[in-house]
């Protein structure tokens, strides 16, 4: 029998606010354990939560960018369970009436029209702390609790079970990742857990419309692992059914080392979270005006920008996609074009030299030492024949090092392209004289030797000779 996988994702997006969701503590990653805490995020008796407005603004942005409706009156709820990293014994989250509901994302699917993936809801919640095992300086082998992360703001984005393959899941996840980083509401760092994903996976016979029993897979924290975990889980479920077994509803944990999932707890063992409205927080009322103000302040989203690059700037779709990988990259590109650079050339340089240089130095476009304006100036020097494309790369390296304008570098280092026929002719004469053997070979029909002569001339001119002029003159001279 053939099986159809059915997948839904729950994504936790850590919001990039300066302070936590219900107190004024810093959200900075990597500080001394428990140094960023206060009575509220320590869950001390008598402490009360106060909602950070920035979190609401970020949630609205995320909702509007994923076509959700914004709930006019949303409610915070307590999710009750005991765990040492959860200081109050409950997590403040949203249950009924989350802030965003009923949205979607259109994802590109190979060989098809875009596919619409439903977003059930987006809700706000606080993160838990972190347990630290075996690193305590004190006596004994106990575990420690670091509550720096407790109470940092999260959005949970819950998709409909509309995804049908691990590839679709990854495309959806990447698109969501791009949107939240583009909006500047999440740093997108998956290693540090700023963007993490749980996957609900089930399979059903192809053609069936009854969903199979699903397993929830926790702890899939990279695009690669999402693909791996889902594929493993699909196969595990198919094998189990084929062997006459039944799938049980359960929570499973992904193990990145083995690429497998294993049972964590069954439905029977599932917590009864006893959700109820948090009496410490008043209902969150969001007016239409607030929503509209947010909508007007939304940046142009990656999809819209790609389309504009294609339609208005004539970029190929591939280039448009690469150049909108991040908002900073797209901004850089547009600034280069605005400074007079040819769109295709600016794009090529960003995708080529600049990306290479950034990768070599392990840095990102935000800290690129060559400004978009300088890049446009450099391209202009090539266009006008002032320098060759080859020399341009040398100039670019120097710009990267010194931050100087390209014109200045060209002048200081005497890198102007030589197009003067008599100067180039004299170089050619010298080289032909010194390599009489090769001249004979060429004239005897071995035309490959031509390349050798071009190389020698360029070398002698330190790369400054205009290649077009060199080719023309050489051809004439060699033919005799």
């Amino acid at each position: 029998m053939k099986y159809q996988p059915v997948i839904g994702l729950e994504v936790h997006v850590q919001l990039k606010t300066d302070t936590k969701i219900f107190c004024g503590c810093s959200t900075q990653f990597g500080a001394e354990p428990n140094s960023q805490t206060c009575p509220v995020c320590l869950g001390l008796p008598g402490a009360l939560p106060v909602l950070n407005k920035k979190v609401v603004e970020f949630a609205i942005k995320a909702g509007l960018s994923t076509n959700c409706s914004i709930t006019p009156r949303s409610i915070f709820a307590r999710k009750n369970y005991f765990y040492p990293d959860l200081p109050k014994g409950y997590q403040i989250s949203q249950f009924e009436d989350p802030i965003c509901q009923r949205g979607w994302l259109d994802i590109p699917v190979e060989g098809q029209e875009n596919k619409r993936i439903g977003i059930t809801r987006i809700h706000m919640e606080e993160d838990a702390g972190k347990l630290v095992h075996g690193e305590l300086s004190g006596p004994g082998d106990g575990s420690g609790v670091d509550l720096n992360r407790a109470c940092t703001p999260l959005l949970e984005v819950v998709s409909e079970p509309d995804l049908r393959s691990s590839d679709e899941a990854v495309i959806y996840l990447k698109q969501l990742h791009q949107i939240v980083t583009w909006l500047g509401i999440c740093d997108g760092n998956m290693e540090e857990g700023s963007f993490r994903c749980d996957a609900n996976v089930s399979v059903m016979p192809v053609g069936s419309d009854t969903l199979g029993t699903r397993a929830e897979i926790k702890n899939v924290n990279s695009f690669k692992f999402v693909k791996q975990a889902i594929e493993y889980e699909i196969q595990r479920q198919i094998d189990l059914i084929e062997d006459g077994g039944t799938i049980v509803q359960e929570t499973r944990l992904f193990d990145p080392n083995s690429g497998t999932t294993r049972s964590m707890r069954s439905k029977e063992e599932a917590h009864d979270y006893r959700y109820f409205p948090d009496p410490d927080l008043v209902p969150l009322v969001i007016s239409n005006e607030w929503v509209e103000r947010s909508r007007q302040k939304l940046p142009e989203l990656p999809g819209q920008r790609q389309q504009r690059f294609i339609d208005d700037l004539g970029l190929p779709r591939y280039d448009a996609e690469v150049l909108t990988a991040s908002r900073a990259l797209a901004d850089y590109f547009e600034a280069g074009v605005a400074a007079g650079g040819n769109a295709k050339a600016v794009g090529n340089w960003i995708m080529g030299e600049i990306t290479r240089a950034l990768n070599d130095r392990g840095t990102s476009i935000e800290t690129c030492p060559v400004t978009p304006v300088q890049l446009a100036q450099l391209l202009k020097l090539i266009d006008t024949g002032t320098i060759s494309g080859k020399i341009a790369k040398t100039v670019f390296d120097e710009m990267w090092q010194s931050g100087k304008a390209p014109q200045t570098i060209v002048e200081e280092q005497g890198l102007l392209q030589v197009s003067d026929i008599s100067a180039i002719e004299s170089i050619i004469n010298d080289i032909m004289a010194a390599n009489a053997g090769q001249v004979e070979e060429y004239r005897g029909g071995k035309e490959k030797v031509f390349g050798f002569f071009v190389g020698q001339v360029m070398k002698a001119s330190k790369g400054k000779a205009n290649p077009t002029v060199v080719n023309e003159l050489l051809l004439n001279k060699l033919k005799g």
């Binding site: 009575p39 320590l42 869950g43 001390l44 008796p45 008598g46 402490a47 009360l48 939560p49 106060v50 909602l51 307590r78 009750n80 005991f82 040492p84 200081p87 109050k88 014994g89 409950y90 609790v145 009864d272 006893r274 959700y275 109820f276 009496p279 410490d280 927080l281 008043v282």
Partner: protein, 484 residues
């Protein structure tokens, strides 16, 4: 006149007139506490040293001419209020050694005005009780009759005022926990409108019902205390941002033409005859003062106690989850995490607290949530609507505070349902979120105080205080002192 017999206003006049220093007043109170405490048991912690230090700086402030009404006044507060550096137990073994790193907003406001803290007062454990018998630190006795309970859960706060161990105190009221002990101990006790006073730093029992309020010797002191603690607190999202009126300025407005409602559901068969007599006399007094009476109905009163015990326990079951032995408070020796949770909580919490945690956990459980918690919330709305409808016609309601005067120690401790019913007249006010005050209105045949309750509109504390003040001026009940 003994210093310890004074009201805030009397002591303030003496401090301002330099007849008495705050240090003298504080020493007098500490002596009084030491003498009386073995008979009453109002305190969990007496903070003599800190009190003397605070009195010293109050005297310096007074010498500089900064003498606020509360500057240098020795007070005590329920052990539910967090006090930085001073043990705060909430009457529970689980917080036996908890020393908070911060203070409650309401106490900070008193402290900043120069009030002197004498100590932390006894209470029912986590404010769950009506008799002060559920404290892990021993019972508190009624100063009028030490074989009787003082009421609860702010029993220590009421007993300390009645026994003249503090000039004024702070308590909290979730279902009557200020008004019922105030009534049983013959003092004035006010539960402000929900949101009027910050809950920040007050250990939560039932967050949607808890409210901070004063217990004092008379209504004028009560107004002064409320004025000091009321107001918006950005640290409490449920505190309301409306201006705090000058409660003192409007005290003397009288009750001529004031419309007072008498809810028929509060004047029931089986109301103690002494209480009934006191109510009749109070109605007569008000009539004489020019108030008009209207018979009204609060039809959902019968459901209030059941509703309260679902909502309050549901919230409590969650609020008390943080006492898990991990970060503070009592931690039991145990094998592993689950065992540690179970043992720490089993050892740390008393019977009544456990009962309410279980009840609340049940009410929120999957499969029961709609039948219990959600339904209780719906009934709560009906009860609120009862009050809204009543206040369309009247300015305040006059009712008994409790169906009987203080009962004997041990009388109801093994009968939770009977105990819960001692709050039938106070609970609806918390569910409706409005304000109410208890003030002395007579004595039983056996000499126990009886209080009357004035229930006001939401944020109608001015009217309640004004009506209370008029009654107090016309009667002498508040001047009687327990013979202790």
């Amino acid at each position: 006149m003994n210093i310890f017999d004074m009201t805030i206003h009397e002591l303030h006049a003496a401090l301002k007139g330099k007849q008495i220093s705050s240090r003298e007043a504080t020493v007098a109170m500490l002596d009084r506490i030491e003498t009386i405490e073995p008979q009453v048991g109002s305190f969990i912690t007496v903070t003599s040293e800190q009190a003397l230090t605070a009195a010293k700086s109050a005297d310096e402030r007074i010498a500089r001419g900064e003498c606020h009404l509360l500057t240098g006044i020795p007070m005590a507060i329920k052990d539910i209020f967090l006090t930085e550096g001073i043990r705060t137990t909430c009457g529970s073994r689980i917080l036996n050694n908890f020393i908070p790193p911060y203070s409650a907003s309401s106490w900070e406001k008193l402290r900043d005005r120069g009030a002197v803290l004498l100590g932390k007062l006894n209470q029912d454990e986590f404010a769950m009780g009506s008799s002060n018998e559920s404290s892990a630190f021993g019972i508190t006795r009624n100063p009028w009759d030490t074989t009787c309970i003082p009421g609860g859960s702010s029993g220590g706060s009421a007993a300390a005022v009645a026994a003249r161990q503090a000039i004024a105190t702070l308590g909290t009221d979730t279902g009557g926990s200020i008004r019922q002990p105030a009534s049983h101990c013959g003092c004035v006790g006010l539960k402000p409108t929900y949101g009027r006073v910050s809950r920040y730093g007050v250990i939560a029992y039932a967050s949607s019902l808890d409210q901070v309020g004063p217990l004092t010797r008379d209504v004028a002191d009560c107004a002064a205390m409320l004025e000091a603690i009321a107001g918006h607190d950005p640290r409490d999202s449920t505190s309301v941002n409306t201006a705090v009126p000058d409660y003192t300025a409007t005290l003397k407005g009288g009750v001529k033409g004031l419309k007072i409602g008498l809810p028929k559901e509060y004047y029931i068969e089986g109301l103690d005859p002494d209480v009934q007599r006191a109510m009749d006399a109070a109605i007569e007094t008000y009539r004489r003062l020019g108030a008009e009476f209207v018979d009204i109905s609060l039809p959902h009163t019968d459901y209030a106690v059941a509703t309260y015990y679902l909502i309050a326990t549901a919230e409590a079951s969650s609020n008390l989850a943080r006492y898990d032995g991990v970060r503070f408070g009592h931690r039991a020796e145990a094998d592993g995490l689950l065992d540690m949770y179970a043992k720490s909580r089993s050892e740390g919490f008393g019977t009544e607290v456990k009962r309410r945690i279980m009840l609340g956990t049940y009410a929120l459980s999957s499969g029961y949530y709609d039948a219990y918690y959600v339904k209780a919330q719906k009934v709560r709305t009906l009860i609120m609507n009862d009050f809204i409808a009543a206040f369309a016609d009247v300015d305040v309601l006059l009712t008994p505070v409790a169906p009987t005067p203080a009962f004997k120690i041990g009388e109801k401790i093994n009968d939770p349902l009977q105990m819960y019913l001692s709050d039938i007249f106070t609970i609806p006010v918390n569910l409706a979120g409005t304000c109410a005050m208890s003030l002395p209105a007579g004595f039983s045949a056996s000499g126990l105080p009886i209080g009357l309750q004035l229930i006001g509109k939401p944020f109608g504390e001015e009217t309640v205080l004004r009506a209370g003040y008029a009654f107090e001026q016309a009667t002498e009940w508040h001047l009687r002192k327990a013979a202790i």
